[in-house]
């Protein structure tokens, strides 16, 4: 399916190409080689499983950034019914880098909010590469308040290289917008489920990423800054991003261990971009299962648990 081939995928992609050629040959020449084809298919499957079971952090990051990777809108299309997008922060404008709206997740009425990247050059520019301005965070908060008012849970999708660092963004209070969201999300009286579906960089991700359950798709990354940014600052050399990615421990496996996320969500073999429908179905089941549990918790307890969840995050020593 994917046109864009990652370096580590090459062996298996070549094998698959060979299988296709053999199949064509067997059809056109009417030669019976199905046994051979089956054998190679099994080999390809095994090779893929093998490759994907021992990806480096940098390789995972490449899948997270894959140009065909499903974005928020793709998940919404495959998971939600009757989705209605809601626009604007009611103060300054509408930020296309964050989308928000109401819809049905199975039988549940929920609010969905997420970073949105574009696929074509034109769309990328329109979506500002998924890098929000303050009005994006304020729109998100406005829609979360709607969720609270109508007692519906919130699901957020994280996929951003960071909040946009620009003059307008600073003039309109990027920091204040994110800070405010953190405060308000801490005390929102409805469940919040956060899913990292691609990239999760810094306050730009966290600005819609504070919640009761944090799920992380298998092939994604989440950290305080992008590896490139980290390399530029700490190595004074942005080409050291590969090392930075390793040092920062930014994958689902890492963050599960550190207690930053609650669950790593399986993706179809080869990554979510190989099968949108399947990726969305797996995620939908996970979200519904979590909501099932959270809906039973009274609001005050929900908030206390949420604050306590973040209180636990941190590693330090204490001598007396």
């Amino acid at each position: 399916m994917s046109e864009y081939i990652l370096e580590f995928e090459k062996p298996v992609v070549e094998l698959e190409k060979k299988i296709r050629e053999m199949r064509e040959y067997s059809e056109t020449e009417n030669v019976e080689i199905s046994e051979e084809i089956t054998r190679l298919e099994e080999k390809a499957e095994k090779l893929r499983t093998d490759i994907y079971s021992k990806l480096s952090r940098w390789e995972i990051l490449q899948i997270a950034r894959h140009p065909q990777r499903p974005y928020t809108r793709d998940y919404i299309e495959h998971m939600f019914d009757d989705f209605v997008e809601l626009h604007g922060d009611r103060a300054f404008g509408d930020d296309p880098a964050i989308i928000s709206g109401i819809g049905k997740l199975g039988n549940r009425k929920v609010v969905a909010i997420g970073h949105q990247k574009g696929r074509t050059t034109k769309q990328k520019l329109f979506r500002n590469f998924g890098m929000p301005h303050p009005e994006g965070y304020r729109k998100a908060l406005r829609v979360m308040k709607l969720a609270e008012k109508f007692n519906r849970p919130v699901v957020t999708f994280i996929d951003t290289p960071g909040a946009f660092p620009g003059i307008g963004a600073e003039e309109r209070g990027q920091a204040e917008a994110i800070a405010k969201n953190l405060l308000e999300m801490s005390r929102l009286r409805v469940p919040i489920i956060v899913v990292i579906i691609g990239e999760g960089a810094s306050g730009g991700a966290l600005g819609i990423g504070l919640g009761d359950r944090i799920l992380m798709m298998e092939n994604t990354w989440y950290s305080v800054i992008s590896p490139e940014g980290c390399a530029a600052i700490l190595w004074h050399d942005s080409t050291k991003a590969v090392q930075a990615a390793e040092a920062m421990k930014l994958t689902a496996v890492d963050l599960l261990e550190l207690g930053v996320v609650d669950k790593s969500v399986r993706e179809p073999l080869g990554g979510a971009h190989h099968d949108y429908e399947k990726a969305a179905q797996i995620l939908k089941e996970e979200i519904n299962a979590e909501l099932e549990k959270l809906e039973k918790v009274p609001p005050q307890e929900l908030i206390e648990n949420r604050i306590e969840k973040y209180a636990q995050m941190g590693f330090f020593e204490e001598q007396s």
């Binding site: 209070g173 800070a179 953190l182 306050g203 305080v224 800054i225 700490l234």
Partner: protein
């Protein structure tokens, strides 16, 4: 006579004359200032009003009654739980910073009094790994907030920070959530949180507690930003406007309540504390049982504060 002879190794660029230790050059107006004069003037240039960056101990001295600070949780220190190594090891950086500053991390927290108002007082140190917020800063702020909740006290945090501490990866990012969510809890008490922003405060600290004050004050000229100017310049490829992201810029864009000179900070804090806490009547009643110990030590008055002696305007 060899007066005109060239020195053997040719002409060398003259080594810039070191200004003797006793003097310092103002980084804004370049005026050479006698250090003791500068200290006496709260590290503010008498010529141009430039506010030098100062240490947590200075703020304690300038803002708390008698410079008395009852510190807590001073023994919490950072650990290199990711075994992080860039051009330096994080564990070495911690050690070096502890040695340099004599402190365990980039923030100090404790109790103090401001014109007899007891407060929980937190103050950051930019000199400790750029005032970066990792687990320790997050934890100490969280505990300070808990103290303020428990003892029903106002909370003051003086920020000076380059943002989240990258060497702690996503855990440092989570400190934004940890501090902000604890402030949500504090907000229920009805006690004030006063955020004082000093130069420079950027990134994760601005995008969490620093911007969440009921009252937000800033020192003149302080850089207050989400993304630092260098990053923005790189991204957009153009020069930034004059005064961009400075305290005055943030004031005119509506993100802080007031730009307050260092000399006036203590009095402004008193004004805010008097407005936002209930004990304004207690002050006249210093013999009242409840606030006895709080207020007898130092009754508010202009003569009390060492700051007022040096007030330049």
């Amino acid at each position: 006579m060899d007066w005109f002879k060239r020195a053997k190794d040719g002409l060398k660029p003259q080594k810039k004359k070191e200004i003797p230790e006793l003097w310092i050059k103002c980084s804004s107006c370049e005026e050479v200032i006698y250090k003791r004069e500068l200290e006496k003037n709260l590290h503010v240039c008498a010529e141009c009003g430039f506010h030098f960056r100062i240490k947590s101990s200075d703020y304690i001295k300038y803002l708390l009654d008698d410079g008395h600070f009852d510190e807590f949780n001073a023994e919490i220190g950072s650990v290199d739980f990711l075994k992080f190594k860039a051009s330096k090891r994080y564990s070495d950086q911690i050690k070096a910073a502890v040695k340099k500053t004599g402190q365990k991390d980039a923030i100090r927290t404790g109790f103090g009094k401001i014109h007899a108002h007891e407060v929980v007082f937190c103050v950051m140190d930019f000199s400790f790994i750029g005032g970066s917020m990792g687990s320790v800063v997050g934890e100490k702020i969280a505990r300070a907030i808990d103290e303020a909740i428990k003892r029903k006290l106002p909370l003051i945090i003086i920020s000076a920070s380059g943002g989240a501490r990258m060497m702690e990866g996503a855990i440092s990012l989570m400190q934004l959530a940890k501090t902000s969510s604890r402030l949500a809890k504090f907000a229920e008490t009805g006690y004030p949180f006063i955020s004082i922003i000093t130069d420079p405060t950027t990134g994760g600290v601005t995008a969490s507690f620093a911007m969440l004050g009921d009252f937000i004050l800033a020192e003149p000229g302080a850089l207050i930003a989400f993304a630092g100017p260098r990053v923005i310049k790189q991204t957009i490829g153009q020069d930034l406007p004059e005064g961009f992201q400075r305290a005055e810029f943030q004031l005119s864009h509506g993100f802080i309540d007031s730009v307050v000179k260092r000399h006036e900070m203590k009095d402004r804090l008193r004004d805010i504390l008097e407005f936002s806490t209930d004990n304004q009547f207690d002050e006249e009643n210093t013999n009242g049982e409840l606030n006895n110990e709080n207020l007898l030590v130092n009754s508010p008055g202009p003569a009390e504060s060492s700051l007022d002696d040096d007030q330049t305007n």
